[in-house]
Amino acid sequence: MICLGIESTAHTFGVGIVAQDGTILANQKMVFVPPKGGIHPREAAEHHEKNAQTVFQQALEEARLKIQKIDIIAFSQGPGLGPCLRIGAVISRYLSQKLKIPIFGVNHCIAHVEIGRLFHNLKISDLLTLYVSGGNTLICAFDQGRYRVFGETLDISIGNLLDVFAREAGLPHPGGPKIEKLAQAGQKFIELPYIVKGMDLSYSGLLTASINKFKEGNKLEDMCFSLQEIAFSMLTEVTERALAHTEKKCVLLTGGVAANKRLEAMIRIIAEEHDAQFYNVPPALAGDNGAMIAWTGLLHAKNENSLSMDETRVKPNWRIDEVKVTWGA
């Protein structure tokens, strides 16, 4: 069985093609880069609409497949930006009806965990995942049929924190990598709010304080350094709490922000301290992509019926713990 997966939750439009055994036959994407400011949902959706055909063709070419060879369609149904999600959903419905093949809706967060698990061949019950991106910041682990959330942000995501600070400091989008580079030249540690509540964290106060401190005339390098140190320490602390609580054997770091080397180093330390194996997902699979959607679609198809057209409505606020994980032990 071969599944074609479509990802369109935010700024990435991706098409992936994956075989039943987990072989990734194609993984193509185009990423919307806002000319200025942040991602406007409608502009991102327009980008996806315009480029969908190209990405789709590229994926089929990469896989050297005719479209008739596709057995099932999967699409990211949420969580995400409504206008962007709808582009992927509309294309998927069309393909499903045109080719008369089953359609499956995939939870974007679950797809991130599952592609990491596939890449490293990890057991679902051994895993604690830290998923950090522009839209999500969450720590989850599988237990009794679902991915349970052990910690998450109470307001904005880590990627959002970095991007908005970068924008305010005059750095172009996406800000994360630029902050990481500047942080390496930072020397002075500037005190900023550190807000952890149980296993949850809050970044909005840190964002405001960072912008203010920057405007007061602190060096950008020192600001980037301190912001990273504080924001990542918060993440590491809550991950460590979750790890101590769940006693999992493996820690998986994924999502767009997983590419940050400083964050990786911190999470690696706590994994080692708790005798857990550390795993990072390579950037091509850690960032939003179609292959992770296709692969998760195949997992759904194992034990579930496909969706009816009514059920394919997008779910912009879909939580990871609402989904029954039918392939879990």
């Binding site: 930006l81 550190y194 952890v196 509540k197 149980g198 140190e229 790890l243 330390i269 939580r319």
Partner: protein, 207 residues
């Protein structure tokens, strides 16, 4: 004797001037910047000792603080013999709702006195063997606050703890906690907090 290795502290069960005590030592964390590490550990040690004592004055069972050593980020406190609520709730023979109502009342008293626990989980509550009282521990993230928001977040934490660890009895338990809570702080104010809790749980998502 090392009793337990927590995420942020080592707990030692020791004798201290003839008393059985728990020594809680906040350990340096190599992953974070040394100056952040020092200030976090010192602040939490002071906070914890202070709020443990304040809470005890309100009639809520907490371990007695005997000694605090700020440079070594250490608190020496009474050792509580008992069973964690986490284990109790997973035992089907117990009356969940009665237990949770009690927990709700305890949280109500805290909030009525502007104390926010900051880490309400079922691991941080112990049913003491002799007195059968529920002891509240681990006040490292506690704070004083008068806002509805901080109360909502505190309730969200216990809700989260139930969701991730006791999801089978989640609704019964959380409703009982809410009942006990409202009994103490009053229905009208409780509803305001519940309303905020609902808003908080809708945040932190993609919109």
């Amino acid at each position: 004797m090392l009793y337990k290795k927590g995420a942020e502290a080592y707990l030692f069960k020791e004798e201290w001037y003839g008393k059985l005590v728990l020594k809680k030592v906040r350990i340096p964390k190599s992953y974070r910047h040394p100056s952040l590490d020092r200030s976090l550990r010192a602040a939490r040690t002071i906070h914890e000792a202070k709020i443990l004592t304040e809470t005890r004055k309100l009639g809520i069972a907490t371990p007695i603080v005997f000694f605090i050593d700020i440079p070594n980020t250490t608190i020496i406190m009474e050792f509580i013999e008992g069973i964690r609520v986490k284990e109790l709730l997973n035992n089907s023979n117990i009356n969940h709702t009665e237990l949770c109502k009690k927990i709700g009342r305890i949280i109500g008293v805290l909030h009525n006195n502007n104390i926010i626990h900051g880490d309400l989980t079922t691991s941080n509550m112990i049913l003491e063997h002799e007195s059968r009282k529920i002891y509240l521990i681990d006040f490292g993230l506690a704070e004083y606050s008068t806002t509805i928001e901080s109360r909502g977040v505190d309730l969200h934490l216990i809700h989260r703890a139930l969701q991730s660890t006791h999801f089978k009895i989640l609704e019964d338990c959380f409703n009982a906690i809410k009942d006990g809570y409202a009994e103490i702080i009053g229905r009208q104010k409780a509803n305001e907090v519940f309303q905020r809790l609902h808003e908080i749980e809708k945040r932190g998502r993609y919109h």
